[in-house]
């Protein structure tokens, strides 16, 4: 068979066919080759997007203006496609629409690999992707919505004018938005009842001969169900082929960490080195430390000792806020020697591990301060420990007392405890930030204790030059957003995470 050269050109560009629409069901996996860097970057950026979706979904009503505005800006920052009007021919800055759609496509499939392994991961992933999809579908105009449906073989037919007339009374009665003119104006779709079970079950819709009659504005419910079902099935399939994927050594570490990854700054870039003096620490602990570090500091001052877990968590945090090695050694030594440890013992037993923290011993890994995720998930504290996340690890009564002793208002404490009950530990800490700084909205999404410190310092306007140095990742489109986790941090994460999971 002879193909004309024109046809050959068309066939050579199957991808443009694939990205005809800014929204997709992710039915087909990407077929191209990409570099490992792109693999990593894409995955991390989508993860950031999904985490934003999660946080916003908890903090705001999903259809509210605040929700949409905040999600809008996150989309722009991370360069994901969400509105159709972009004309590729116009010159503009940043990635093209095609590139955005390609990233959307590829990143989704990479995260499937990372999130298919357990029931919890699957549930989380599906929930965020569904919310994301709902948001993007609702952004489409009416025409785009219909295009999308047909493009994806959801050939839900519209009801003909004659049939609408005949059924008009029933349709008006069935739809809660229904009024005579609305039924006339908008399209109704005939959907097989199996695709609209929730509406059938609750009798919220007109049902005839096995079809439900749905107004155009409500078609998103059907589409969402379809999306959710497809994704759920796909993840189950992905999980089965995962062992083969994981046998690729290049992919295995990255995929294993994506599901636990912290994807922001690592705060090992010590631009603030030497700007903190030891005398300030007590004051700073009360004003600008997150609850976990404040607790550790207080414990250290009171008992002149901290166990290994506490030393690691607090010590690395201090490094992150700018303590030098010499300052750290002085700090720990002076505190420990007030207790049961004498100078010699300190130098023998503890100094080594502090220098180790700063990368001056052993294999010289410069360890990075722990992210909230790490503090919450790994190494839970036992009796006599003071590390961990107090919102996660302290029981409610103890937490309440502690907050009371730090002069948090009763209503504030109630709000915090509510968030804790819903397992939103970082949001609880954010609320603690807002209450202790007397503000309504923290303006950032908390992921890291050092981030808490920096934001606090910025707010209080003090802290010398510390606040100027480092830009928090969530602000503005010019922020250095593309910071893939450096290999060292990744390697360190591997060690600790592996150990955590081995302990069962």
């Amino acid at each position: 068979m002879q193909f004309g050269s024109r046809q050959r050109k068309l066939i050579a560009n199957p991808q443009t066919e694939l990205y005809r629409h800014c929204l997709q069901f992710y039915a087909q996996p990407p077929l191209e080759n990409i570099s490992l860097t792109e693999f990593e970057t894409f995955a991390v950026e989508r993860l950031k997007l999904l985490k934003t979706v999660e946080n916003l979904g908890v903090s705001y009503v999903k259809s509210s203006d605040q929700y949409t505005n905040k999600l809008d800006s996150e989309f722009s920052n991370l360069h994901f496609p969400y509105k159709t009007e972009v004309d590729d021919k116009k010159p503009h800055i940043g990635p093209s629409e095609y590139e955005k759609r390609r990233k959307d496509h590829i990143s989704h499939f990479i995260l499937r690999l990372a999130y298919c392994q357990t029931e919890d991961l699957r549930r989380w992933f599906i929930q965020q992707e569904v919310d994301l999809f709902r948001y993007r579908f609702n952004c489409l105009n009416s025409k785009s919505k219909t295009q999308f449906l047909h493009h994806n073989n959801l050939h839900y037919d519209t009801v003909s004018l004659e049939e609408k007339k005949v059924l008009s009374e029933k349709l008006i009665n069935s739809s809660y938005a229904g009024s005579a003119c609305k039924v006339e104006e908008q399209d109704f779709y005939k959907v097989p009842f199996q695709d609209a079970l929730d509406l059938v079950r609750t009798r919220k819709v007109y049902l005839k001969a096995g079809y439900v009659y749905i107004p155009h504005q409500d078609i998103v419910i059907i589409v969402l169900n379809d999306f959710r079902t497809r994704l759920s099935k796909a993840l189950a399939l992905t999980a089965r082929s995962l062992p083969t994927v994981l046998s690729d050594e290049r992919l295995q570490p990255l995929l294993s960490h994506l599901s636990h990854a912290y994807v922001g700054q690592d705060y090992s870039i010590q631009k603030s080195v030497g700007k903190i003096s030891l005398e300030q620490i007590d004051l700073l602990a009360g004003k600008s430390f997150p609850l976990c570090m404040r607790q550790l500091h207080q414990s250290l001052r009171e008992t002149h000792h901290l166990r290994h877990g506490g030393r690691m968590q607090y010590g690395l945090f201090l490094k992150g806020i700018g303590l030098t090695l010499e300052q750290a050694l002085q700090f720990w030594r002076s505190e420990f020697t007030k207790g049961k440890v004498d100078m010699d013992k300190f130098d023998k037993a503890y100094a080594y591990s502090i220098r180790h923290m700063f990368g001056k011993e052993g294999k010289r890994t410069d360890y990075t301060p722990y992210s909230c995720m790490k503090v919450i998930l790994s190494n839970p504290p036992s009796q006599g420990d003071h590390h961990g996340c107090p919102f996660r690890h302290s029981d409610a009564e103890l937490l309440k007392q502690k907050l009371q002793s730090y002069k948090v208002s009763p209503s504030g404490i109630a709000q915090i405890l509510d968030l804790v009950k819903g397992m939103h530990y970082q949001l609880a800490c954010q609320k603690y930030f807002e209450l202790t700084h007397n503000i309504e909205d923290s303006g950032f999404s908390l992921n890291h204790p050092n981030q808490y410190f920096l934001e606090s310092q910025k707010l209080l306007g003090g802290g010398r030059e510390v606040k100027r140095e480092v830009d928090p990742p969530q602000r503005g489109p010019d922020a250095a957003v593309k910071q893939p986790p450096n290999p060292q941090a990744l390697a360190e994460m591997t060690e600790d995470l592996d150990a955590y999971f081995q302990d069962g």
Partner: protein, 338 residues
């Protein structure tokens, strides 16, 4: 003279006779085979038997009609239940890798039980029924039948009297058999308007009608794909009545007390029916490949009160067959099976 003479103690003697000479095996197979459109549909169907002394055996399955007959004639079950069509032969389910043996399809079923109407009937209670309260059942059947046809678009509904105090509806459409658990649950909930416990108080006339007459369903029966339900033409051990199909066209004339018992039809077997025997040989028997056993069996049940009920099943199956004709042709064309 329909329900007299039934004594549960006689079951062990009556059942062998029933299964050897009266049970309509060929119609039964014709039903569950669904025209042979889907491979192994009959072979992967689960049956369960309740034997003497309440011994219950599950995961029975059969390769052919003949095998089913032989087994039933050997075991003489007191009760027969029909389950789902599975991914593998149910009688081999232990050999299948764990997790892969799954219920795939089953008719959508409904169970209406007279005891659920106890709060609105004063004539009877619990397992008892009479012609007065049976009216409520008649109304419920009309409503459910109409809803299933008009709202959901189902066509092939087999209504069966359970033998004592209720009816079952088997929705046999292909779409119905393929419904998921979630879908079955949604359909059942859509249809569940009234649960019982009518409150005393002021009601409008329509509300009263609704409270009394609207079908009261046991949703759990309808939800599960692997749920086992009493088979048509099974015997009710307590009343002796056969679970017979109901002709919806004659629904208002249906009288549960007119339904034959196993003792009656066995008795009728022995009674020679005057003049009818020779004339009843119809086209089905003439010139077909049926063996003598089967031919005799057809002549046998036709001499009894069971005849008209088997006919109802036949008519139902004719309707189902129409919808298969197209399917089979399509498939044989695809496979070039001439």
């Amino acid at each position: 003279m329909t329900s007299t003479d039934y004594d549960p103690a006689c079951l062990p003697d009556l059942l062998p006779l029933y299964y050897r000479r009266l049970f309509p095996f060929s119609q039964y197979y014709r039903w569950l085979n669904y025209g042979g459109v889907q491979k192994n549909y009959f072979q992967h169907r689960e049956f369960s038997f309740t034997l003497k002394d309440d011994i219950y055996v599950r995961y029975q399955s059969f390769s052919t009609q003949g095998e089913l007959e032989k087994e039933m004639q050997k075991m003489n079950p007191y009760k027969i239940d029909i389950g789902a069509v599975y991914s593998h032969r149910p009688n081999q389910h232990n050999t299948v890798k764990s997790g892969t043996f799954q219920a795939l399809e089953k008719e959508l079923v409904f169970d209406i039980d007279m005891t659920d109407y106890d709060d609105v009937r004063s004539c009877c209670s619990a397992a008892n029924i009479c012609n007065k309260c049976w009216t409520l059942m008649t109304i419920a059947i009309h409503i459910l039948d109409r809803a299933l046809r008009e709202d959901f678009g189902f066509h092939h509904l087999l209504w069966v009297y359970s033998g004592r105090r209720g009816v079952h509806c088997w929705v046999c459409d292909e779409a119905a058999r393929k419904l998921s658990v979630a879908a079955r649950s949604a359909v059942a909930e859509y249809l569940s308007l009234v649960k019982g416990n009518v409150k005393k108080g002021q009601y409008f006339e329509k509300e009263i009608m609704l409270q009394y007459c609207y079908p009261r369903l046991d949703v759990n029966v309808s939800k599960g794909v692997n749920h086992l339900l009493k088979s048509p033409f099974s015997v009710h051990p307590k009343t002796g009545r056969i679970s017979v199909p109901i002709d919806l066209k004659q629904l208002d004339k249906f009288d549960p007390f007119d339904v034959p018992t196993i003792s009656l039809i066995c008795e009728e077997l022995d009674r020679p029916r005057v003049g009818e025997e020779d004339e009843q040989v119809d086209s089905k028997e003439k010139g077909s490949d049926m063996d003598t056993m089967e031919r005799r069996r057809i002549r046998d049940y036709k001499r009894t009160s069971l005849a008209k009920y088997v006919k109802i099943l036949d008519q139902f199956l004719d309707g189902v067959a129409q919808s298969h004709k197209g399917e089979l042709l399509k498939r044989s064309d695809l496979q070039k099976d001439f």
